[in-house]
């Protein structure tokens, strides 16, 4: 057998991160938990090393006989996941420590989940895609239940597990039908495979497969009609885990499934209307539900449902036209930056206030820490898509892709629901700036959190002014 196609180096980022996870577990056991404080450095080292390899890959040949791809999409997905980790791990460990959660478990499970996410973003065939989904899902189920003594956390883990299992079932069944009728597991070859059976009875089997796979995707990203698990899981899980789910996991899912949908461009008339309806419903439901929340964490949860709607719109627009996923790739990074930072801020503000993420905690934040309140406004407005922040550029690219593909109605719907979103995001800002504080005393950030918030804020501004920075970077790495 010829092993020249193996090219292990293509998987270096994944290997580094999963190796980091194993090392964390080993060190935890070896020191009997006495040196857990240092483990975050081990984890960060593996993440940074992986990031370095993503930015300067040793090879851009696909690995494992085409199962692990090295295209711009793969690198964009990996870098986004790793960036989320860099932002979340230090804050996450501090969070875990302050709430007496097991740090080593948190770190190693996060790294394993990230391995799955990165593999998902670069999966070249359906089996690897499924394996990646499972690796990331199982790690996330455990992470959701990390606060085991709290009922909400246990409930979140169980709900997530059940919903996720259904999704996996759909996904696997869909893959079976699809690969069976197309005669291949290779994602890139699905389109030609399906073209061969078009007009025959097998076509309908294939279509069933497409629909089931899309259902799996909608489940995983929490889009309508499979969104009902989101509120409970997102609000019950430890906040740093929620942040991880709503950012990195979503980015990876869109990268991985985006690739599949692109490959199915030849049968786009079968899935585009379906995804379109779900995208529209997701934008409406996500934004309006977010609007009425009095709880910051739940508001962010539903707003991330809404963002899934915009991303689906982008997917269907480019999928139909068979173009690159540039709009989706771009949309994800500022979304991830802003969301990761906001969840961490939420944890901090809530801890200093009511302890249960009430919006009221933000009252008078500007008096207690004007810089934090300013950055909070910046991040929220970035998510809302106000120019010149990056969220605007993301939405601009998605909507212009939609208009170009002829989905003007959905673009209008997207833009109108964005106004609702602005109203949602302004409420904490109004509380922070226009209201008197209920508690006095400064609210100081520790160094790690301040770093995250500033990096995310600067990133939003920079990417908004020079969006090509990120896209050119991705295009420059992969092939």
């Amino acid at each position: 057998m010829d092993f020249s196609g193996l090219n292990v180096a293509a998987l270096l980022p994944e290997l580094l991160v999963s190796g980091g996870g194993l090392l964390v577990m080993a060190l935890h056991a070896a020191f009997r938990g006495r040196q857990d404080r240092q483990l975050v450095w081990v984890s960060l080292a593996s993440v940074v090393a992986a990031l370095a390899f993503c930015l300067n890959p040793l090879t851009v040949e696909p690995g494992y006989f085409g199962s692990a791809l090295s295209d711009p999409m793969a690198f964009a997905g990996r870098i986004t996941v790793l960036a989320a980790l860099v932002l979340l791990l230090p804050g996450g460990v501090a969070y875990a420590r302050s709430r007496n959660l097991p740090q080593a478990e948190y770190l190693s499970l996060s790294l394993f989940a990230a391995t799955g996410m990165m593999a998902l973003a670069s999966a070249g065939d359906l089996i690897v895609l499924f394996l990646a989904v499972e690796v990331l899902s199982i790690s996330l189920y455990c992470l959701a239940g990390l606060m085991g003594e709290r009922e909400s956390s246990r409930q979140a883990a169980l709900t997530y597990f059940l919903a996720g299992s259904f999704a996996s079932g759909f996904l696997l069944f869909g893959m079976a039908l699809l690969s069976g009728s197309a005669g291949t597991l290779d994602i890139a070859a699905l389109g030609t495979g399906l073209a061969r059976v078009s007009g025959t009875g097998t076509q309908w089997v294939a279509l069933g497969g497409v629909v089931l796979m899309i259902a799996g995707l909608l489940f995983k990203v929490g889009a309508v009609p499979f969104h009902s698990w989101v509120a409970e899981v997102y609000s019950g899980s430890p906040t740093v885990v929620t942040a991880f789910m709503s950012t990195a996991a979503k980015a990876a899912a869109f990268a991985g499934f985006g690739r599949v949908l692109l490959a199915l461009g030849s049968v786009s008339e079968a899935w585009v209307p379906l995804v379109g309806i779900c995208a529209g419903a997701t934008m409406i439901l996500g934004n309006f539900t977010a609007l009425v929340q009095g709880n910051f964490k739940r508001m962010l949860a539903f707003s991330s449902v809404a963002h899934a709607g915009y991303l689906l719109l982008g997917l269907m627009a480019v999928g139909a036209a068979g173009e690159s996923l540039e709009a989706v790739i771009f949309y994800l990074l500022p979304y991830v930056l802003a969301n990761a930072a906001l969840f961490l801020v939420a944890a901090k503000v809530s801890q200093a206030g009511s302890g249960n993420y009430k919006l009221d905690d933000y009252k008078g934040l500007a008096r207690r820490n004007p810089w934090l309140a300013g950055l909070l406004a910046l991040l929220l407005l970035g998510l809302a898509g106000m120019p010149p922040l990056a969220g605007f550029m993301g939405k601009f690219m998605v909507f212009s892709a939609a208009v170009r593909a002829g989905h003007t109605g959905l673009a209008v719907l997207g833009i109108l629901t964005s106004v609702v979103a602005v109203f949602t995001y302004l409420r904490p800002v109004v509380y922070a700036w226009f209201h008197e504080p209920e508690e006095s005393g400064a609210l100081n950030l520790d160094g790690g959190l301040a770093f995250v918030v500033w990096v995310a804020g600067a990133g939003l501004l920079l990417l908004g002014l020079w969006p090509r920075l990120w896209l050119d970077l991705c295009a420059g790495i992969g092939v």
């Binding site: 106000m386 550029m393 212009s400 003007t408 106004v419 109004v430 700036w433 226009f434 969006p467």
Partner: protein, 503 residues
């Protein structure tokens, strides 16, 4: 080097905002003077632009007529450019923005709460306004348009009156709803107009857009987009029935912010119609001209009636803005050279006159801490200088010959009469109503027996005079000799009218 003047005017205030955030927060005078210094730069540059502006240049759809043009790629993948320049439509607005922003720094001297934030946001607002007027790229225009929204929102929401939160959110949502409609329109134009955001190039595609076979949502493309843009701009003007945010915002906003709001922001609506709607959709403009004229007349009469009913001095001035912006609409919709020039001139003149009126309201409010028209009386006896300046402003607003408001209104009526005789007749009634509400207000506030409560009211001080006198001089000067501003805009307004009528 010269072409960078507009860039400097736009971004020097932003730099000022950044500098102010790093000043120590208890050094109040340092913060104020820094803000003044950074606002002075655009004013000096604007003055220079006004001096050096080539009056023979036409502009509108002719790039050669634009001056101080900078065109650099910004986001090449989408053909988005940093494309700025001024022509006869934008030059007066740039001048107005620079002037009012500078004077408003001094009108904000009394702000004592969170000074750093206030002046930083104020300068950011100036960047947004300036950028909106000089942008020739649609996305750049949109970005500046939105950039201006946020500081305004915070300035009303933090430094405003008792109902500031409500007013700020209402202002924000109304404007945002308008601007997102615009965004859909921008995208649709981009894909129909050869994938460009350059306003000039889009104007060259006017015939393609007007193609009756072209549809969007099953309706005529040009008409749908014209209406979408019109609503976006109409909210800003504000055109009845989208005007309800205005009185709320004005009443709650601090004085200087009211000045900017009425003096500059409202003009962006009508400026947008002239810069964007008319030259890109000349055919639709012809179709809708009558409807716009009717809306203009409604604004004139409805605004004036509302002003008459107000008890609050500031609300009266706010509704007078609604009324006066109606003249701009009417003049524009007449599609005659006199009407268009009148409209453009009215934009400038209303900017100066209404600024004076809001500043004047601020002066009494700072002393009496209320604005009830019936709560004063005989102020003329204790504040003669103040009353003198106030008379100048109110008479200018009434359109008294010899003051700047007169010329613009006459031109508007001259232009409109050629197109819509009955509408012009109706709108002329607005003049009587305007005289009515203003004279009645003057009688109650300045004349009559002195209200004993205010017998020791201090006279207007030097700082307040400093903000009012320059504008007052402009109002008088342009009333006698309007050419220095009119010759800026003449070429462009004529070009605009030909563009629409010859389509």
């Amino acid at each position: 080097m010269e072409q960078w003047v507009l860039t400097l005017m736009t971004f020097v205030p932003l730099l000022g905002a950044a500098v102010i955030t790093f000043l120590p927060k208890d050094q109040h005078n340092l913060i104020r003077w820094t803000a003044a210094a950074f606002a002075a730069v655009p004013l000096l540059l604007a003055f220079w632009v006004w001096q050096t502006f080539n009056r023979a240049g036409v502009g509108v759809d002719d790039l050669a007529g634009f001056q101080y043009v900078v065109k650099l790629p910004w986001i090449p993948a989408y053909n988005i450019e940093y494309f700025i320049g001024v022509d006869g439509l934008s030059a007066p607005m740039v001048l107005l923005t620079a002037l009012l922003s500078f004077l408003c720094i001094f009108a904000s001297w009394g702000i004592s709460k969170q000074l750093k934030g206030y002046f930083a946001l104020f300068l950011l607002l100036e960047t947004g306004m300036m950028g909106t007027f000089v942008s020739l790229d649609f996305i750049l225009f949109y970005v500046f348009w939105e950039v201006m929204l946020l500081p305004m929102y915070f300035l009303i929401g933090i430094w405003g009156g008792p109902r500031r939160e409500y007013a700020a959110i209402k202002f924000f949502l109304y404007t945002l709803a308008g601007s997102v409609l615009m965004l859909v329109g921008i995208l649709a134009l981009y894909f129909q107009g050869g994938q460009t955001f350059s306003l000039i190039e889009l104007m060259a595609h006017a015939r393609d857009f007007a193609n009756p076979a072209l549809t969007i949502f099953g309706m005529n493309f040009a008409k749908v987009l014209f209406v979408a843009f019109f609503i976006g701009f109409a909210i800003k003007v504000p055109v009845w029935p989208f005007h309800t945010w205005l009185p709320d915002a004005h009443v709650e906003a601090p004085t200087a912010i009211s000045v900017i709001l009425a003096g500059v922001l409202l003009k962006m609506g009508t400026y947008g119609m002239m810069r964007i709607s008319m030259p890109i959709f000349p055919g639709a403009m012809q179709d809708f001209a009558f409807a716009i004229a009717v809306l203009g007349v409604i604004n004139i009469l409805y605004g004036a009636y509302c002003a008459m009913a107000q008890e609050d001095l500031k609300k009266l001035v706010a509704y007078s803005s609604v009324s006066h912006m109606g003249y701009v609409m009417l003049g524009m919709a007449a599609l005659t050279p006199q009407g268009m020039t009148g409209a453009a001139l009215q934009m400038f003149n209303h900017g100066t006159i209404t600024a004076m009126m809001f500043l004047l309201v601020g002066v009494v409010y700072d002393r009496a801490h209320h604005r009830q028209i019936n709560g004063f009386g005989g102020l003329g006896a204790v504040m003669p200088v103040y009353t003198g300046v106030a008379m100048l402003a109110f008479f200018a607003s009434m359109g008294l010959p010899g003051l700047s408001g007169f010329i613009a209104e006459v031109l508007v009526f001259l232009g409109a009469f050629q197109s819509y005789k009955w509408l012009t007749f109706l709108s002329a009634l607005g003049i009587i109503l305007t005289a009515g509400y203003l004279l009645w207000m003057i009688k109650r506030v300045f004349l009559g027996p002195l209200n004993e409560k205010y017998k020791d009211m201090p006279e207007i001080n030097a700082r307040e005079l400093f903000t009012l006198v320059p504008i007052g001089l402009i109002v008088i000067y342009l009333g006698i000799y309007p050419i220095p501003v009119m010759d800026l805009m003449d070429g462009a307004t004529e070009r605009l009218v030909t563009l629409v009528t010859s389509f």
